[in-house]
């Protein structure tokens, strides 16, 4: 009974805050995931098709892309966030709030998705592509109907991994005043010793990540037909 009481006071006091934080996290994740996917998938395709022996073989484009992706992937998000402040300002006109954090989140995630796409696309049996080439089918049709189609289960899993990574990165969004669950846990749970808030946030994050992973696994398995 005591626990129930404590729980009720807790929800009354913190629910609105946690709710807002959850919405902020969801916003940041969804917006940057969408933009990162739109950028990351074509980048991944380029990373595959400009390789040696592929349809658009181009040593320079491949090497340049590879280098850029590696450089960005080696910078921790918390550093990237500050490192590209001038660029963020240039693109969205502000460096704070949800808007201000979307740019670094996208720059952080898009190359990650590109890498995940690259490995998904490379899994597609090159024999099937050869068969389609032999039928006189254009490269762009092959990209869509063979490469992307066949790697859908693997792409879904890749995007699931990217989403979980994004949720982690949004925890640092508080540093530029964008809020979110991570920020809540840090400010209240850590700085103000409200341990319950910390626990509640961690619990919500675990549920969120579990849910997203299960959903990803489910859809991926459904798309696999063997």
């Amino acid at each position: 009974m005591i626990n129930m009481e404590r729980f009720n006071t807790f929800t009354e006091q913190w629910m609105p805050l946690i709710g807002t934080a959850l919405i902020e996290t969801a916003q940041m994740v969804l917006i940057s995931l969408t933009i990162s996917t739109v950028l990351g998938i074509p980048l991944g395709i380029l990373l595959v098709l400009t390789r040696r022996g592929q349809a658009w073989e181009n040593k320079w484009v491949y090497q340049a892309l590879n280098l850029v992706v590696n450089i960005i992937r080696s910078i921790p998000f918390i550093i990237l966030l500050f490192f590209i402040l001038p660029f963020t300002k240039l693109v969205v006109g502000t460096t704070i709030g949800v808007q201000g954090v979307i740019v670094p989140l996208v720059i952080y995630t898009a190359p990650y998705i590109a890498r995940l796409m690259e490995s998904s696309l490379l899994e597609v049996d090159s024999g099937v592509r050869e068969a389609y080439e032999a039928m006189g089918i254009k490269t762009r049709h092959i990209i869509w109907n063979v490469l992307l189609r066949e790697s859908r289960p693997s792409i879904v899993l890749g995007l699931t991994i990217a989403t979980v990574g994004l949720i982690g990165a949004t925890a640092m969004a508080g540093l530029v005043g964008a809020g979110g669950l991570g920020d809540l846990a840090y400010r209240y749970g850590h700085l103000r010793y409200e341990v319950d808030v910390m626990y509640a946030t961690v619990f919500i994050l675990i549920i969120l990540v579990q849910g997203i992973q299960s959903l990803g696994n489910y859809f991926s398995a459904r798309m696999k037909k063997d």
Binding site: G127, V128, E130, A131, M135, I137, E150, K224, D226
Partner: protein
């Protein structure tokens, strides 16, 4: 129909230049089935890829339907490829698409009118005998069924030419047999010209009109199947023939028999296979024939019989009987000359 003239293909690697195909010429007439046989690494896979320019030859010319393939622009080449079906050892179907989609998707992409597509899918699924598997996924099919889908996909483009890259190599003997029968059927019904590569002599024996033996990138022997099977010249050809007919007798065994006569290989072709010639020999000459091994090979265009015999008797009598056999159209080889070498 298909003309390959002095085709060479080189690959550059870190270890230097590798010549996978070396000055190969061949000519497949419309409606014929030609086969290239060779061990793995002989260059046959590269050769067949040169026909539709999946590999660009380093030298030589590819002509198909009187069009010079090596001189086409990229879009012209894509257009010409629509006229060439190809099937593969690994089937190469979309795993995430049903049997029906595996046939309809390429049709859509090569610009077949949408209205015609379901009709074509039905027609060619019926030909390969898989109408009831229309909604199955490749993962639910056996190897033979997958190859049938791949054949239906190739046929649905209604090409003049079919290239087969080791299409039966991943299949068990019984399934191989049924796929070969299917290939023969489509060759006869649609007059489709087939060029295939294989390492199985059975494939050549069953469906080919013409055969080329390939080794180290070059064709070492080629000709009508019946000629090559009855009178093989190159040692690689012989060792391939050994895979389908027993041709080996031990040296000791033969030399022991040779003390009392001749050990010969008699090859019968066509009409002479039906005659009881050895019975005649035994009756007319002072000879006792003893059959050591015997086999008969049914080819697409005829029958070849092989007999390894011991003719016991005086050498004059043996010589007379041989003259008689030759007159009847039997090919005769001394065992030593030919088969001792293998």
């Amino acid at each position: 129909m298909i003309h390959l003239e002095n085709i060479s293909k080189e690959f550059k690697s870190k270890k230097g230049v590798i010549r996978a195909v070396n000055d190969v010429s061949l000519h497949v007439k419309k409606g014929e089935i030609h086969g290239v046989i060779g061990y793995s690494g002989a260059g046959k896979s590269t050769l067949i890829r040169c026909v539709n320019l999946l590999e660009t030859p380093t030298a030589g010319k590819v002509r198909l339907n009187d069009r010079e393939f090596t001189e086409l622009t990229k879009s012209e080449l894509l257009e010409e490829r629509k006229n060439i079906g190809m099937i593969f050892q690994g089937f190469n179907l979309l795993r995430t698409a049903t049997v029906e989609e595996n046939i309809s998707i390429p049709l859509k992409l090569i610009g077949v009118p949408t209205k015609e597509i379901p009709e074509r899918v039905e027609k060619y699924l019926k030909i390969v005998g898989l109408t009831d598997k229309k909604n199955a996924y490749p993962g639910q099919l056996s190897g033979g069924q997958k190859q049938r889908v791949a054949i239906a996909r190739a046929l649905a483009q209604e090409p003049d030419v079919l290239l087969s890259d080791e299409a039966t190599s991943a299949l068990d003997p019984e399934t191989t047999e049924s796929i070969l029968e299917l290939l023969l059927k489509i060759n006869e019904e649609f007059g489709i010209t087939i060029l295939l590569i294989t390492h199985e002599m059975q494939v050549i024996q069953k469906i080919c009109d013409y055969v080329y033996v390939m080794e180290a990138g070059a064709i070492v022997e080629g000709g009508p199947v019946i000629d090559l099977f009855s009178n093989p010249q190159h040692k690689t050809t012989r060792s391939f023939l050994n895979t389908i007919s027993q041709r080996k007798l031990s040296r000791e065994f033969v030399s022991n028999l040779q003390k009392s006569g001749s050990v010969l290989r008699l090859t019968f072709r066509g009409a002479s296979t039906g005659e009881p010639l050895l019975a005649v020999v035994a009756k007319e000459f002072a000879i006792k024939p003893n059959i050591l091994t015997a086999n008969i090979m049914e080819l697409k265009n005829g029958v070849i019989g092989n007999l390894d015999v011991h003719l016991a008797g005086e050498s004059e009598e043996v010589a007379r009987s041989l003259t008689f056999l030759k007159e009847q159209g039997v090919m005769i080889e001394e065992w030593d000359d030919q088969y001792g070498k293998i």
